[in-house]
Symmetry: C2
Subunit: 97 residues, 2 copies
């Protein structure tokens, strides 16, 4: 609400809103629990870094979720970004050949 809404939300936004804030977790504490640096988690929750496969595993362990859910969110976001970035790519259809 407060931030710019993207069509697919950045996974870091979901992480902050649905995981950190409900538990009253600080970025510093969550980073320590996840076993990553404070900078790394900060970049994620501020939308400047994506969820890597290994990070998805860490999140799944820490928050009792599925790693697939995090990577799927990331894929949706990446796909949205890719579509914005290259509105017209030169690709020939091959299924009618």
């Amino acid at each position: 609400m407060t931030m710019t809404m993207h069509n697919p939300p950045h996974p870091g936004e979901v992480l902050r809103d649905l995981c950190l804030e409900p538990l009253g977790l600080t970025v510093t504490d969550a980073a320590a629990a996840l076993g990553v640096s404070r900078k790394t988690l900060s970049a994620i929750v501020n939308g400047r870094a994506g969820i890597s496969p290994e990070m998805a595993l860490r999140l799944s362990i820490a928050f009792n979720t599925s790693p697939e859910s995090w990577l799927n969110q990331q894929s949706q976001y990446d796909l949205w970004v890719a579509r914005q970035g290259s509105p017209k790519m030169k690709v020939q259809k091959l299924y009618a050949a």
Copy 2:
């Protein structure tokens, strides 16, 4: 039934078996149609490179598929690799806190 988990196939394997071979497409021709270099496509179909979001878009256009299907396959593969690489990560559970 299966104690031995089959590793998820590399998306490049699927690409070769389900897209290139059925249509009799060479790597050279498919690369040209996709608008990428021959090396790039060769690396993918030989399992030495992943499907990037932009490549998923190209494949979806060329083969009339969904880009999500390609990225989901890639996620499954990446997740499997990540699990193999780090069998035990130091991550603290936060959902019971």
